[in-house]
């Protein structure tokens, strides 16, 4: 190996790792911002959910039957929702209050509800709520559950015995009815968001410093000075590609640390109810697959960034070209977010998309060696193709010296 390859790599790395601004923006900021962002979001969601669940809403009942009011009192439902009786002439006003968020529920019973029940006339109950107001939406669940038990109670009175209404019990004596692999369940939550985040952060890491490495040299005029040294152009190109890959990996590790650190408080965003995130335990194989997918994806990104950078005359131009590519990476990530991981194997060959799907399967503990080979092989193939293109472009005088 040409020792000057190391010289180029060392110089590029020194450029990044001795620049406090770049260290902060590419290595510290991603971790800190992800940690702060997801921790805050997780905590806020938790707080909001608890608040909504604990809130005692207000309900107006028009033509309230005795049986309903008595049963609500008896079942202590008045502790869950405050019940006030209202007038039929004010119905429109009550509806406006619900729309404005001043009232959670409105129930309108048919007149003479109790006697209609007694005479088998099947009376009606109108129930109104506001589905864009969290308190009202939650109150609807509570009243619907209560109405079910109220109906059973009325049925029991009709038959003469409440116990006669119950034909069977469901899950009597069963402590945990949801049977699942806790590890898979925890991973499934992660597989929604993590693959997309990894794909995006890896690219943004490469994108943050890539334009300066090549387009910056062209803009400063140092590229010509470099190219008249006896170093082969391929060596210069490879030195820059490798250095950028190192920076991109370090930057993505920073993002990854941020994600892991935010897990305890962000768990509520990722996991289903009752899933313990601590159950997620990766083995050596999973970590090896993760590293392999990330490294090959980085190599693909770095080659794309270098290619764009080399074709640009200035850092500004490179950043302009980079924006739509960044959008493509984000779209690839978003399309897989709610997709099932079980896609046809040939789709694993699609650059970026295949890697994100592979990561999705990895977190769901459903990744196979064949999938890894397909996606990593594809990333390496496209990266190699682009590195070959970069070498050609480094020798293309029109590209290197155009103004």
């Amino acid at each position: 190996m040409d020792k000057r390859l190391l010289t180029v790599i060392k110089k590029e790395l020194k450029r990044i790792f001795t620049d406090r601004r770049l260290i902060f923006t590419t290595m510290i900021l991603p971790a800190v911002s992800i940690f702060v962002m997801y921790s805050l979001m997780g905590n806020m969601i938790d707080t909001r959910t608890s608040d909504v669940e604990a809130y005692v809403g207000n309900m107006i009942v028009v033509n309230a039957p005795e049986s309903f009011l008595n049963y609500a009192e008896e079942a202590a439902f008045t502790n869950v929702i405050h019940i006030k009786t209202g007038s039929a002439s004010e119905i429109n006003g009550y509806k406006d209050e619900i729309i404005n968020g001043d009232l959670e529920l409105l129930m309108i019973f048919d007149e003479n509800f109790d006697s209609k029940v007694e005479n088998y006339e099947q009376p009606n109950i109108q129930r109104y709520y506001n589905d864009v107001e969290d308190y009202s939406y939650e109150a609807r669940y509570k009243i619907d559950n209560f109405l079910t038990t109220y109906e059973e109670n009325l049925l029991g009175e009709r038959i003469g015995s409440l116990s006669a209404v119950n034909v069977f019990d469901l899950n009597r004596g069963v402590e945990m009815d949801a049977l699942k692999d806790n590890q898979k369940a925890a991973g499934k939550g992660l597989s929604i968001l993590f693959p997309m985040l990894i794909a995006i952060f890896l690219f943004s890491g490469a994108m943050s410093v890539g334009p300066d490495m090549i387009a910056g040299e062209k803009e400063r005029g140092t590229m010509a000075t470099l190219l008249v040294t006896p170093v082969k152009r391929e060596t210069l190109a490879m030195g820059k590609v490798i250095a950028l890959a190192v920076v991109a990996v370090v930057s993505s590790l920073s993002s990854f640390i941020g994600i892991i650190a935010s897990m305890p408080s962000a768990g509520s965003m990722f996991a289903e109810d009752g899933v313990n995130m601590a159950a997620l335990q990766f083995g050596v194989k999973e970590y090896a697959y993760l590293a392999l997918i990330m490294v090959t994806l980085v190599s693909l990104y770095v080659s794309v960034v270098c290619m764009v950078s080399i074709m640009s005359k200035s850092i500004k131009e490179a950043n302009t070209y980079m924006a739509p590519i960044y959008m493509l990476v984000m779209v690839s990530g978003f399309t897989t977010m709610f997709a099932d991981g079980s896609v046809p194997i040939y789709r694993m060959l699609i650059p970026v998309y295949g890697s994100v799907i592979a990561l999705k399967n990895l977190f769901a503990f459903e990744l196979t060696t064949k999938m890894v080979l397909y996606t990593c092989g594809s990333s390496i193939f496209f990266a190699a193709l682009m590195v070959y293109g970069i070498k050609i472009l480094f020798n293309n005088e029109k590209v290197m010296f155009s103004k």
Binding site: R4, T7, K14, T222, A224, V228, E397, K398
Partner: protein
């Protein structure tokens, strides 16, 4: 010796460039059948207006671009067949060079020294020589961002000369410099001549060409219209000053608009 033999350089134009140049032809002849020789201990000046083909010629000599036709030999090496040998013997400096301001002067010169395969001892010795000459030794560990424009230009020259090349090629070396720095640069070019280097500079400034160069080649529209010493050019054009000679040649170049 640098020997340029009948080089022609044709660039393909993009549609955007064709529109910009207001032309229907998809190619542009930047340099046409151009020849000259520059010898050790001599400063050869390429004089011409902007767009005449000076930079293209210098880039062809420096191996940065390949001539479409013709040959260039540098110290006996063909710059197509033995480009690496050529590159180890030349320095190419453009006034557009802006070194990365994040690095110190020492870091920068160290990097280029290593790229030229020099040992640490050679780099340090050569660095000290150049920094002493340009009076930037006391600033060697400061970041380039803290340097004045003049100091940056001096450092750029030092960087390009770290490997003590036999051939020094400067594209518009004094362009945009203040009078003191410009003088320091031209003094150094004279010093290089004294050291027996082949020095090739391009310029559009008559004063630089007449005072600095031992030989002058006047380029118009990609063609070398006249080569010789200042007195030879004046005699040939029957003028008293280089500027008059230049405009006489310029007027005689039919259809040329610079």
């Amino acid at each position: 010796m640098v020997s340029v033999k009948n080089i022609t350089k044709v660039f393909k134009l993009s549609k955007k460039q064709m529109k910009k140049d207001n032309t229907r032809t998809s190619t542009k002849v930047a340099v046409k059948n151009l020849s000259f020789q520059a010898h050790p201990g001599e400063i050869f000046g390429l004089l011409g207006p902007n767009g005449a083909g000076k930079t293209t010629t210098l880039r062809c000599i420096s191996t940065l671009i390949k001539p479409t036709e013709g040959h260039v030999e540098v110290m006996g090496f063909d710059n197509q067949q033995a480009s690496s040998e050529v590159r180890s013997r030349i320095a190419f400096l453009t006034n557009e060079l802006k070194l990365d301001e994040h690095f110190t002067a020492s870091d920068t010169i160290q990097y280029f020294g290593e790229l030229h395969n020099m040992s640490q001892e050679e780099i340090h010795q050569r660095r000290d020589e150049l920094f002493d000459y340009f009076k930037i030794s006391e600033f060697k560990n400061r970041k380039i961002a803290e340097f004045s424009t003049g100091m940056k230009q001096k450092l750029s020259i030092a960087v390009s000369l770290i490997h003590d090349p036999e051939v020094v090629i400067f594209d518009e070396p004094t362009n945009g410099l203040d009078i003191i720095t410009a003088r320091a640069v031209t003094d150094y070019l004279k010093e290089l001549r004294t050291q027996g280097k082949v020095v090739i500079v391009s310029t559009h400034i008559m004063n630089v060409a007449s005072k600095l160069c031992d030989k002058i080649g006047i380029i118009l529209d990609g063609e070398m219209v006249l080569t010789g010493t200042l007195s030879e050019i004046l005699e040939e054009t029957k003028t008293d000053e280089l500027e008059d000679a230049f405009f006489k040649l310029y007027a005689g170049k039919e259809g040329y608009h610079g």
